[in-house]
Every structure is written in structure tokens, then in C-alpha cells.
């Protein structure tokens, strides 16, 4: 028979919608409105999991986010989600769940043998043991510990769903849509504030859902809120953290209640919400009582049993015992009795109370002054042992399959605490309540105001105050609030019933009251130490139901009040959050945006192999079918440049327009060399240092007018250089009248290099005489290129006669095609970054590998560039002895003695067996075939001509190399000036 524990009427489930689901392969049926937990209970499934350490049988303990026990693997395949709380997993058609942390079946988990070893597996046992023999920890013990530990299994497969981020702003954010939250949102919304109302549940109402009498107010209020244009209601949205600046992080479960997300929809949405005011109406979590066997399936929080009966119309047991410490818990007995459960007894340590009398009048058996001393049964509860308060021994057993317990209620102060709110102990509620805070307002049960009517009043008052504080001063009309019976949540102080047997304070991590006492005995007397030593309150539930109980056991051991012992600090997250949600949409291929030059399509058409350069995609080389391998392509391209002509996209270089009356002065200060003397229409190589005297960047800068310069940077440093310039203009020299504009994206640029470059340029460019005398090395002029406005630079990185044509980016394709056409008769080849690197290494030009943030101008052979007079960034600190030490590694050229033996960047340079430097760049030469490189070598200049060793022990290589000048190719620069 299906759903044999389902009530015929009542609750917030839709009996017309039958949803099939499975647990451990067994088929069951539930209804829309169920959670997995309520559906399991409806079908009589009690045993749902195994505990962390002792593999004890565990059942459903709560009806909400605080669940420590009922963790399952939800779904299957790549969508498997381990450690999913059955109590919050919304049921859908076809849901498949599997129990976890067991070997063998759930009913016969042979790891339960750990329970027999419990005397040696107590708190912190691993710190004192597993040390003998010394080598065994990693080889034997640790693998076994790891395998046994952990809870559920990850799928190990890529998550097929996607996630998105979202941002919101509001005047008043209300977290929690129980009665207090609804009232707060209603009050704030009525005042005209922009309100967001977050509720982690799929239904709004919280405890209102457990009282049919409140249904009218609940539905009217939800409808009223929905009708307010300024109010946004967000169910299935859990606020996980409260951050600086009144920013709340929340996750909306967009599609977790569906078999899979609808097309285009994310599984979850991660919200960052900036609020002017925050009202926390997060409710309270009922807490357990520690007594032997308090973990057996069938032991359940009283409020949860009541919720299953009233909200889900499920009878959690046939014969129940209620173990209550306060009057409010008695409603559970009433609810279950209404549901048809036989209430065998109400056990209460108190001698008398109003609820007790009412219960007796209603015909319940109440055993005052008594406590539960233990439970009996196997994998499910069969009986409850009852004894007198303080007797210390286990009492008689009363048959029952459900034990409802309530040690009191802990306000859910997680978010308030994260907001920096101090917590204060309340002696009546025996719980920590939020104190005063400038950052948030708490309302309702989360600040100890219980009962429908009182919580509603409290919520409305805080909602109104929040709206007022957010600038909505207009007195809002009084909002309708529900009436409700007062409920007394002040508990008798009973944290633990001491008797023989394991009494758990943390159900998930198998922490017992004895473990806490052991920690105390071993000196871990502070709550933070005890927590860490025992792992108390460190499971997925973060101790929501037992955290305070453990603290109280510790307090008792210390002989101090709980208030003094305190609670461990609350940190994000209020409840666990999906990794994918926190990551949002910028993952995988979209982890960072791809930056493309305007010639990207041209490179693609030419079959470029791409490489990443920061965000940019750049052509590494352009393979041809006739190339034997990548090196063949690279060498072919470089050959073309050395022998004929090549063209390369250099649009990625940073470009900054520097203008203003003080532009020249400014550049003189940010560059180590001088620009104020540069003639208009000329370019100059510039070297920029950091303030610490280390080389920062290089590039060519052009003077376009008396107060107009065009600065170029390396591709990698374009952003940092801009910020560096802006910072010094703002902080060091605010009096200089200079403006900076990044024009990197406006200008595309291509380098045309090789002996035939002039012929190609002459054919493409109009308006300039490109003859050597008329347009010498380092000349710059505006022109047209293939009919479009352009700027021509005569600069070279390759060591050949070379020009750079820059043009507005939208014309780059047009000019590129014109260049290829004009170059065709000369055998022009496009060349990529690899060939560019080959050419510059041959020529001895430094690049990123040498400008690595560890080298000085002197190290790089550029010391002559530093101007002798005047201030510039880096001038003073470059003079420190450690940076002028002549023994520092110095730039050298390197050549493999055997031209066929490869040398690699990253190898170290050994001289007489001593590590004296490293190879920064390496390639194959095309002018003198063989492997060459640049490196940094101590006493480099003095060692030119020597044969040393390039050692690469990582790859088992030792290659003899000859130290040569880095500037071996056309040392007189005849080619670039030709």
C-alpha cells in the first residue's frame, strides 16, 4: 500500500498530483508539495542514512534546512548531488535518491562494526594514534581513514546544468517569509519602499503552514504583496551570507524542483543584493536533547513531527512519545493525535505547567518530572526508556515508533551574527539572541519573539522602521495582522540526560556528550578548541540542532554557565550553497572574455594556430600543408621576413594618446630615457621602470605634435601601464596638465618587415615618400593606406627593414588584404607570434621573458638608456647596491654547441657545475641554423665565448651551449636602416 502514513485531508500537498519517485531503487509515490522526507515518511520509510563515523542507522530528524541525518545522493549520473537534505528536497516526478555512507545495504552496513571500536574512536583519536610505525600513517592508516570518512559520493562528471549570477538593489530586504517576514514586507511595502522578500522554502508562510486557522491571512497577505509593484517575492531563495556594506548573498533554486532545467533556464541563480535596510526574519531551529540513543530512526524534533502532520499531512509514527521541556512543544502531541497517532506518553522534566494541565485534561498521559533515558530498537525505534529526572539510570521502556523531542528553540542568528551583531544570552529562552546592530534588524522567532500574533507584530514594527530608515517616512496605513494563541517557548534547562550509552550532541559527525567531556579533560576547554577537537558542529548542518547542546555539555564540565562558554563564531554559509551557483556563468570557456583583434577573421581564414596572450587570441603561426611540423611553419615565416617580406598583426600592443602642455615633462618622468628632446614626426624606444628600479615595460613612443605623443606598451602591460601613468599623474604630479586616452582598440596595426618591405609599403601607402632618406628609421607620418586614413611608423622588432602601419580598426581587414596583394609578387608571408619571437631572439631584443619583473636596465644591457639628470620613476632605488651589483645575471646570447640539440627556456646555466643563470628565451635560428637563446648569466659579458651547460634536470637534459653576444645578428643595424 502506498503512502500508508498519509492523512486523508489537510495539509499543503496536492493529492491530485501523484509523483513517482524512488529511494535506493525502490519505487514510491508522493504528492506535489512534498519534500523527499515527507514523501518517505508517508511511505513508511524510516531508515534513510548512516552516520559519519560509527555508521549508526539514522532517520529523518527535522523538517527543514537544519537536518543533520537524512542526507541522500539525489538524482543520478552527472546530476548526482551528494549530501542532499531530504527535508528540503522538493519532490518531483521521477526523483531518484540513494542512501549514502554505507558499505553493503542501508539495513546491513558492515561498517557499523566501528561502533564496537568506539572506545578507541572517540574525539581526536587520530591525533594520538596512527604514529607507529612511523611510515604507516601515509601508507596504511590514512588511505583507510580517507575511504571511511566523507559522506556522499560526487559524480565526478561535468555538471550538465548552467548557472547565472544576478544583481539587485532594494530599500528593504526581508529574509524569511514566515509570519514575521510577511508582516515586515507588508509594512515596508505599504510604506512605498522597494522590498525584496526571500524565502528558502518553496512555500511562503513558515509556521503559518502548520495552522489551518492562519491560512486566510497567509494567502491574503501573499496576494497583497504580489500586487504591490515595489515588492519582489522570491521563494526557493536562500540567503547564505551577510556581507560588508549590507550586501546579502542568496541562491535561488530555479529548477531544482524539476527533473531538469527547462531549455535556456539555469539550475540556480546566485543573487548579490544590496539593501538599504535588512530585516532578518529567519525563524528558529528546534534543538535536540542529548540522551542515550537519541539518534535512532524514529527520534525526531517535535516541531518537525508537527510539521509533517499539519503541513504535509503525514503521520510520522503510529505510537508516539513526546519528550518536551516547554509548553509550546505540546502542540506536537495535539497535531499527531489529530493525525491519528497514539500518544503513548508525554515526558516532561518539569513538575507542572499550563500545557501539562491542558494535556492531562485532554486525556494525554503526562509523566512529569521524568526524562527519556534511552531508546530501544534496531534500525528503527521500538521503544522509549523513561526514568525520573536526575536518576542517572536507564528506565522502563514504553513501546513507541516515534519519539518527539524538544530541548527548546535556537533563534537562527547566523545572518545577524555575520553582520557583526553581538549575541546575548537569554535566560528564559536559554538561547543566544541577537543584540543591537546598526546593520540589520531581527524580527520574530529569530530574536526570540515566538507565537503567531507576537511575531507578526514584531515583523510589522521592524518592517515599518526599516522603511522609515530607508527614507520612506510617510506613515504607512496599519497593515492587517493575524491573531494567534501565545505559545510559551521557555524551556526547562535540560541539555543532557546522563545515562549509559551514546548520547549525541552532533548527530552527523557522531559527536557524543562524552566526546565533549573528553575534549575538556584533555584541555580543549574553550568552545572553539572543543569544536575543532571533536568536530562538533562542523558537519553540513553546522550544528543547527545540537551546537548549543554541545556547548552546554562543555559548560557543565567547566562548571560555568552556557552564556560564558558561548558559541563558535558563525561564518558563511548559513546553509551549504552549490558550487556552480557561486561560480555563476563565467566558467569554462567563458571564465574570461576572449579579446580579438580586428584581423581575427583574416587569421582564421589563413588557418592560424591560436595562442593565448592574456585575454587576447593571437596567431602563433600559419601552418601550410607542406610544413613538416610547427617548427617548419615558424621557420618558413621567419625566413620570409629575413629574405623577402612578412606581415604580422601587432594590434594587441597597448596604445595611449598622451596630450597636454606638460606631456613631454610627464613622459620624461615616467620613462627612464628622455622624450622632451624628441622631434615631431619621430619615434623613440622607451624604457619604463617601476619605482623600485626594476624594468616595468618598453615600447616606442612617437611625438605627433609639440604636446601630443603616442605611447605604445607591450601587449601584457597595456593595462598596468595605463594605471601606473594615471596613478602618478593623480598622486605625485597632480599639477601637470596631461590627459591620457587609451586608443588600443581604435587603432589596428600591422608590421611589414623584410628586405622587400619598402616595396610593399610603397605600393600600399599614399601621401608619403618612403625612400630611406625621406622616411628614415624611426620616422612617423600620417598617410593613407589603400585609400583609408593611416599612420606609418618606421620601426623594427625583427631586425629587418620594417614599417608599422596603423589604421582605424574597422579598416584593418581592407589594408591587410591590400598588403598581402601588394606583397604577393615579393613572396610575402603572414607571420605569427612564434616567428616574431624567433626573429627578436636572433636580433637580441628583449621581451616579456626578459622583462620578467626581476631584471634591471643594466641586467638587460640597457643601462646606457637611463638618463643622468632629472627625476624619473625608479631612478633613485635603481641605485641600491643589490641592483647595481656587477655580479648580477646579465643578458647574453646562447647557442647550442650541437645545432641539433634543443635548448629550452627554463633551463639553468651551469658554469663549472655552479648554477649561474637561466635561459629566458629559446628558439631555432634561421640565419645560422641551430638552437639559440637569450639568457641571464652572472658575469655574462666576461663569459662570452665560453662553453657552459644548459641544465634541465626536469627533462633529463644537459646541453653544452656557447655564450655569445645577444646582438649577433646585424650588430650595426645596417638592415633596419637600409
Amino acid at each position: 500500500m502506498t503512502q500508508r502514513h498519509r492523512l486523508a485531508t489537510g495539509g499543503h500537498v496536492d493529492r491530485a498530483q501523484r509523483l513517482g519517485f524512488s529511494f535506493d531503487g525502490r519505487r514510491h509515490e508522493g504528492h506535489a508539495g512534498d519534500t523527499l522526507a515527507s514523501a518517505l515518511l508517508a511511505n513508511g520509510v524510516r531508515l534513510v542514512g548512516r552516520s559519519f563515523k560509527y555508521h549508526r542507522p539514522r532517520g529523518i530528524f527535522s523538517a527543514g534546512v537544519e537536518e543533520p541525518n537524512a542526507l541522500v545522493e539525489l538524482r543520478s549520473g552527472a546530476r548526482r548531488e551528494p549530501n542532499t537534505r531530504a527535508t528540503v528536497a522538493e519532490l518531483f516526478e521521477g526523483l531518484a535518491a540513494t542512501s549514502q555512507n554505507r558499505r553493503g545495504s542501508l539495513a546491513f552496513d558492515w561498517m557499523a562494526v566501528n561502533g564496537l571500536l568506539a572506545p578507541w574512536l572517540g574525539a581526536g583519536f587520530y591525533y594520538k594514534t596512527f604514529m607507529w610505525p612511523a611510515s604507516f600513517w601515509e601508507r596504511v592508516y590514512e588511505p583507510a581513514v580517507r575511504k571511511a570518512a566523507g559522506l556522499g559520493r560526487a559524480s565526478g562528471l561535468p555538471d550538465p546544468d548552467h548557472y547565472e549570477a544576478a544583481h539587485a538593489h532594494c530599500d528593504v530586504l526581508v529574509v524569511g517569509a514566515g509570519v514575521a517576514g510577511l508582516a515586515a514586507a507588508l509594512a515596508a511595502g505599504s510604506a512605498g519602499a522597494r522590498v525584496m522578500l526571500l524565502e528558502q522554502d518553496f512555500l511562503l508562510g513558515g509556521d503559518l503552514l502548520n495552522d489551518p486557522a492562519q491560512e486566510a491571512w497567509r494567502s491574503t497577505t501573499i496576494a497583497a504583496l504580489a500586487a504591490m509593484p515595489g515588492v519582489t517575492i522570491m521563494p526557493r531563495t536562500m540567503a547564505f551570507g551577510f556581507y560588508d556594506g549590507r550586501v546579502i548573498g542568496a541562491v535561488e533554486q530555479v529548477a531544482d524542483h524539476l527533473p531538469e532545467p527547462p531549455p535556456h533556464a539555469p539550475r540556480q541563480r546566485y543573487w548579490t543584493i544590496r539593501a538599504q535596510e535588512v530585516v532578518l526574519a529567519t525563524g528558529a531551529h528546534e534543538r535536540l536533547i542529548a540522551f542515550p540513543g537519541n539518534d535512532r530512526p524514529g527520534v525526531m524534533l517535535a516541531g518537525a513531527a508537527r510539521t509533517y502532520a499539519r503541513r504535509y499531512a503525514v503521520r510520522a509514527g503510529e505510537t508516539a512519545v513526546l519528550f518536551a521541556t516547554h509548553d509550546a512543544a505540546y502542540d506536537a502531541a495535539l497535531a499527531l493525535a489529530e493525525a491519528g497517532t497514539r500518544i503513548a506518553a508525554i515526558i516532561d522534566p518539569r513538575s507542572d505547567s499550563a500545557a501539562m494541565q491542558r494535556a492531562r485534561e485532554a486525556g494525554f498521559t503526562v509523566r512529569a518530572g521524568s526524562v527519556v533515558t534511552g531508546t530501544v530498537g534496531g534500525t528503527v525505534l521500538r521503544g522509549v526508556e523513561i526514568g525520573a529526572l536526575g536518576s542517572g539510570s536507564r528506565g522502563d521502556a514504553l513501546p513507541a515508533d516515534l519519539l518527539m523531542i524538544s530541548g527548546g528553540w535556537n533563534p537562527a542568528v547566523h545572518l545577524a551574527s555575520m553582520a557583526g551583531t553581538p549575541l546575548r544570552w537569554d535566560d528564559a529562552l536559554r538561547a543566544f539572541l541577537p543584540g543591537d546592530s546598526a546593520w540589520q534588524r531581527s524580527a520574530g522567532a529569530c530574536r526570540g519573539v515566538h507565537g503567531i500574533g507576537a511575531a507578526a507584530q514584531d515583523g510589522a514594527a521592524e518592517g515599518r522602521a526599516a522603511a522609515r530608515a530607508a527614507g520612506f517616512a510617510a506613515a504607512a496605513a496599519a497593515v492587517p495582522l493575524p491573531e494567534g494563541p501565545a505559545a510559551d517557548h521557555r524551556p526547562f534547562e535540560l541539555w543532557e540526560v546522563q545515562a549509559r550509552g551514546k548520547a549525541f550532541v552532533d548527530l552527523q559527525d557522531d559527536v557524543t556528550a562524552d566526546d565533549i567531556r573528553l575534549a575538556h579533560r584533555e584541555g580543549f576547554i574553550h568552545i572553539e578548541h572543543a569544536k575543532r577537537y571533536t568536530t562538533h558542529a562542523m558537519g553540513t548542518d553546522q550544528g543547527k540542532v545540537g551546537g548549543l547542546v554541545g556547548a552546554a555539555v562543555l559548560a557543565a564540565a567547566r562548571g560555568e554557565p552556557v552564556a560564558t562558554v558561548g558559541m563558535p563564531r558563525y561564518r558563511p554559509y548559513a546553509a551549504p550553497v552549490a558550487w556552480g551557483a557561486m561560480a555563476g556563468g563565467e566558467v569554462g570557456k567563458h571564465f574570461q572574455p576572449v579579446r580579438r583583434t580586428s584581423l581575427h577573421g583574416e587569421h582564421d581564414r589563413l588557418g592560424a594556430v591560436w595562442m593565448d596572450a592574456g585575454l587576447w587570441k593571437r596567431p602563433a603561426y600559419y601552418p601550410k600543408a607542406t610544413d613538416a611540423d610547427a617548427w617548419a611553419s615558424v621557420k618558413r615565416e621567419a625566413h620570409a621576413v629575413r629574405e623577402r617580406v612578412g606581415v604580422c598583426d601587432v594590434s594587441t600592443l597597448g596604445k595611449i594618446a598622451v596630450e597636454g602642455p606638460d606631456a613631454a615633462t610627464f613622459l620624461d618622468r615616467v620613462y627612464a630615457n628622455t622624450f622632451s628632446t624628441l622631434a615631431i614626426g619621430r619615434a623613440r624606444y622607451g624604457l619604463m621602470l617601476r619605482e623600485d628600479g626594476i624594468v616595468f615595460d618598453d615600447g616606442t613612443t612617437t611625438r605627433l605634435g609639440p604636446d601630443r605623443f603616442f605611447v605604445t606598451t607591450t601587449t601584457a602591460q597595456a593595462g598596468p601601464v595605463m594605471q601606473h601613468l594615471e596613478f602618478h599623474l593623480a598622486s605625485a604630479w597632480p599639477h601637470l596638465d596631461v590627459s591620457l586616452a587609451s586608443v588600443t582598440d581604435h587603432w589596428a596595426a600591422m608590421s611589414i618587415a623584410g628586405p622587400k618591405a619598402r616595396d610593399v609599403v610603397a605600393a600600399v601607402v599614399q601621401g608619403i615618400d618612403v625612400a630611406n632618406e625621406a622616411f628614415p628609421f624611426m620616422a612617423v607620418a600620417d598617410c593613407t593606406a589603400a585609400g583609408v586614413p593611416a599612420r606609418l611608423f618606421r620601426i623594427s622588432f625583427s631586425g629587418e627593414l620594417a614599417y608599422e602601419i596603423a589604421m582605424p580598426a574597422g579598416y584593418a581587414t581592407h589594408v591587410w588584404q591590400a598588403v598581402l596583394a601588394a606583397g604577393a609578387p615579393h613572396g610575402i608571408e603572414p607571420y605569427g607570434v612564434e616567428a616574431l619571437g624567433l626573429l627578436r631572439i636572433e636580433k637580441g631584443h628583449v621581451a616579456g621573458a626578459e622583462l620578467n619583473g626581476q631584471t634591471t636596465a643594466h641586467d638587460l644591457g640597457l643601462g646606457r638608456m637611463l638618463k643622468k639628470k632629472g627625476d624619473f620613476i625608479g631612478r633613485v632605488l635603481a641605485q641600491r647596491p643589490g641592483l647595481t651589483d656587477p655580479s648580477r645575471p646579465h643578458l647574453v646570447g646562447l647557442r647550442s654547441v650541437d645545432p641539433n640539440r634543443q635548448i629550452r627556456a627554463g633551463s639553468h646555466l651551469l658554469v663549472d657545475g655552479q648554477d649561474q643563470g637561466w635561459i629566458s628565451s629559446a628558439t631555432q635560428s634561421v640565419v645560422d641554423p641551430g638552437w639559440i637563446g637569450l639568457g641571464m648569466l652572472r658575469d655574462g659579458a666576461a663569459r662570452i665565448g665560453r662553453e657552459i651547460v644548459a641544465a634541465n634536470p626536469l627533462m633529463g637534459e644537459e646541453v653544452p651551449v656557447k655564450v655569445v653576444t645577444p646582438h649577433g645578428y646585424d650588430a650595426e643595424n645596417l638592415r633596419v636602416r637600409a
Binding site: 560588508d244 556594506g245 623600485d692 594605471q723 596613478f727 598622486s731 633613485v876 641600491r880
Partner: protein
Amino acid sequence: MLMIPCPHCGARDEVEFTYRGDATVVRPAADAGIEAFHDYLYLRRNPRGWQVEWWQHNGGCRAFLKVLRHTVTHEVRGVVTATEALEVPPA
């Protein structure tokens, strides 16, 4: 998340800004020597409390701003432009 009230743009998320160091250190005169530049570049008061800092609103108006911020509570109490001054309150 820090919300920094840019004097030009209004309150914006910390992601739009980049911290750029203690704004109370001043770049020495060109002839000040190694010791002065060492102190400027390396030594930090690093207060546990209020500090005036450089932040660039590089995701917004790109202005360099002086921000008075508390290094424990992260509270931002004042933001001014680069050429204005901020008083540091007593701890």
C-alpha cells in the same frame, strides 16, 4: 562587499575599484635619496583602524580617490578626490 561612495558616481561595488596603497605616503623629492624612497615605497604604518587609502575607480570613472576606511570593520567613512585632504579620526 565594500560599497564605496565615489564622489562622482555614487556608491558602487568594490569590484569597480582597485586598492592602490596607503595614501598618506608621499613620493619624495627627486633628490631625497635612497632612504626616503625606501620609506615611501616599502614602510607602512599598516594601522589596525582608520586608514586613508588610494583607490582607483577604474571600473567606473577611473578617478583616483582617497578613501577613509577602517581596516577591521571595513566601514568607509569618507571619500574625496585626489587633491583633497581627509582627516583621520582618532582610533
